[in-house]
């Protein structure tokens, strides 16, 4: 809100091959980063508590098989395997609190 007039347009924005001199938001580059989804990394979609871990390292899992229960917002959420594969590593224990986007389990996906 403040500091409106202080900044000078010194950055450039490329639109259709032309560079326009202008001001960019401070977090502009960060905003624009896009990460490809990694199905082998099972992350918490919400902060909560690991209520139960259903798999062991080295175990083979089928697509849609229950990996663990993440309790959040008074709901016991089942976290399922997005694809078939082997459980490479389990990063969490039962009863552990996790934050959003925390890595819970790493899979080694079966070759299709």
């Amino acid at each position: 809100m403040e500091a409106k007039k202080e900044k000078k347009p010194t950055a450039f924005l490329n639109v259709d091959g032309t560079e326009y001199k202008t001001i960019l938001p401070e977090d502009f580059e960060q905003l624009r980063k896009y990460h490809m989804p990694e199905p082998e990394h099972i992350r918490s979609f919400i902060a909560g508590t690991i209520q139960k871990v259903n798999v062991k390292e080295g175990q083979q899992v089928k697509k849609g098989e229950k990996l663990l229960i993440l309790e959040a917002m008074k709901m016991k959420n089942r976290v399922l395997a997005p694809l078939a594969g082997k459980v490479r590593k389990v990063y969490v224990k039962e009863g552990e609190n996790v934050i959003k986007n925390q890595l819970l389990i790493k899979l080694e996906l079966s070759k299709a």
């Binding site: 809100m1 409106k4 347009p9 924005l13 490329n14 639109v15 259709d16 091959g17 032309t18 560079e19 326009y20 001199k21 202008t22 001001i23 960019l24 938001p25 905003l31 624009r32 896009y34 919400i46 902060a47 959040a72 917002m73 609190n97 934050i99 959003k100």
Partner: protein, 514 residues
């Protein structure tokens, strides 16, 4: 003798109610830099014009020992008064009484004054300062909110509705301001969120302060929920009074006409805009160079700054300005700026305010984040709003008007009434570099010196198409004008559009992309 005693009793009762939540609660309010609810109304309205109603309303709650509690005015003050000598309805939540919490009778006081405002076709100003629903009153509180939201919606586009956030406004309570036309916030005082920091902490484990979650700064720069930001309450009331000087009192009226004043000399229109379309300038200087007295009242100045909106006067009458801002993000349209433009266009259209659009943009913002954020449906809002608007629409193409950006920014094709272009205008399907690279791809790649060929082809394209005359030859532009003629032509265009009539098919309502 008997009547005198009764008058005395009335005075005593009034005095009791005027205590609000008592001395201690009032002191606490003051220590936070806040005025009390009645002081706020008095500061906002014309001197001595406020008349309060429903002063003796009492709550009916019986559970949780509530029947033993007296809550003066039930935590909200309602009434009517005037601003600039014209009638307004107002309510102000009183945080000193049970934290301004909303129970059934509290909400009934608000809905009663809302009904008055709609019936009398006068603006409604709501001052929000409340801890939220009165939990002891249970579902009656929810019913109260719902009744308010319904009236906000039904009154929308009929009377102006203004929300002033002067304290916490959390949970369901935030939806009333969100449904109104303009939201005012004050630094360090306003707090708006659906779920507060403590809920976020317990559920998500994330630590955040109230200020960082939903303070005045956040809502005026990041969320776009607030339209006006002030440093203190006094400045905020000044902004409201100024806004009310521009807008019509209801959807059947036009804005007040005041004496026309020329722009102040210090904005020389030719000197503001660089001829090179790649160089920036502040479009607000162009607006100030054409508008009466160089007085431009900007709305949402901290959010989606690549597009500027606001009110000014032309020949003494209010107009709304929508302008691309080259100094910020090259003035592109994106998700937020599309939303900002579309809502403002619809406001102007609902309240008979002509729209002047200043065009200078390279197009829509490219990028994965924009595409994934749904720039298609957000961008479509601009097309929808301009096409739908039946108020007089004047467009001035200053420099770039490329591709979808050209169409969206109040083009002839969306039924602009007048399209003027400066000689610096470039109306084309895209910028010369991009266009030449596509059209002459073969020639460029097969040339002995591709870079030299590319430059030559860009130059060729520029000479042929980067101007206003191709569009003027088709009548898409009505007139190519000198920058210095802009004000004169806009004034004339507004004058001849005075009795504009346009017929559209009868329908219940359209389905805009929101």
């Amino acid at each position: 003798m008997g009547l005198k005693r009764k008058i005395h009793e009335l005075q005593k009762r009034r005095e009791e109610v005027l205590q609000g939540g008592g001395e201690k609660a009032v002191q606490k309010q003051v220590s936070m830099g806040k005025l009390t609810a009645r002081e706020r109304i008095v500061a906002l309205l014309d001197k001595g014009s406020f008349n309060e109603y429903d002063m003796f309303v009492e709550h009916e709650a019986r559970d949780f020992d509530m029947d033993k509690k007296t809550l003066y005015g039930d935590g909200v003050i309602v009434g009517t008064g005037t601003i600039h000598g014209r009638p307004v309805a107002v309510f102000a939540q009183d945080f000193t009484v049970a934290g301004g919490s909303l129970g059934l009778m509290h909400s009934r006081k608000i809905t009663k004054i809302m009904d008055h405002a709609l019936k009398m076709r006068m603006p409604l100003i709501g001052i929000n300062d409340s801890g939220g629903a009165r939990i002891q009153e249970g579902v009656n509180s929810l019913a109260g909110y719902g009744e308010i939201f319904y009236r906000n919606t039904i009154s929308s586009g009929v009377i102006p509705q203004i929300s002033v956030i002067l304290g916490p406004c959390a949970g369901g309570a935030v939806y009333s301001p969100a449904l109104t036309d303009f939201v005012f916030v004050v630094d360090n005082i306003s707090k708006m969120f659906i779920t507060g920091p403590s809920v976020i902490k317990t559920v998500l484990g994330e630590d955040i302060s109230m200020e960082d979650l939903g303070g005045a700064n956040i809502h005026s720069t990041i969320t776009g929920n607030a339209h006006f930001f002030a440093k203190n309450e006094k400045e905020c009331f000044g902004q409201i009074q100024k806004l009310l000087s521009f807008i019509p009192w209801n959807n059947e009226e036009k804005s007040q006409k005041i004496a026309s004043k020329p722009p102040r000399r210090d904005y020389k229109i030719e000197d503001i805009v660089p001829a090179d379309p790649k160089l920036p300038y502040d479009v607000r200087d162009v607006i100030k160079a054409v508008v009466d007295d160089s007085d431009f009242f900007e709305i949402m100045e901290g959010w989606a700054r690549n597009l500027v909106i606001g009110f000014g006067r032309m020949g003494g009458r209010t107009v709304g300005f929508v302008a691309n801002q080259p100094i910020y993000l090259a003035g592109v349209l994106d998700v937020d700026s599309s939303d900002k433009a579309a809502r403002f266009i619809r406001y102007c259209d609902a309240f008979n305010i002509p729209i002047i659009t200043l065009v200078d943009l390279p197009g829509y913002l490219p990028g994965v984040d924009q595409e994934h954020a749904g720039v298609i449906r957000h961008g479509a809002k601009v097309l929808y709003a301009y096409s739908e608007a039946t108020v007089p629409k004047m467009t001035v193409i200053i420099r770039k008007a490329y591709g979808g950006g050209y169409i969206a920014m109040s083009s002839r094709h969306l039924r602009a009434d007048f399209v003027f272009a400066w000689p610096s205008a470039e109306i084309a399907v895209m910028g010369p570099e991009g266009a030449a690279n596509i059209i002459f791809r073969k020639e460029i790649s097969e040339a002995e010196d591709p870079e030299k060929m590319r430059k030559q082809k860009v130059k060729e394209y520029k000479n042929k198409f980067a101007n206003p005359y191709v569009a003027a030859a088709k009548g898409y532009v009505d007139s190519v004008i000198e920058p210095g003629e802009t004000r004169k032509l806009l004034l004339h265009a507004i004058e001849v559009s005075k009795n504009k009539v346009i017929s559209v098919p009868k329908k219940k309502h359209g389905i805009p992309p929101f």
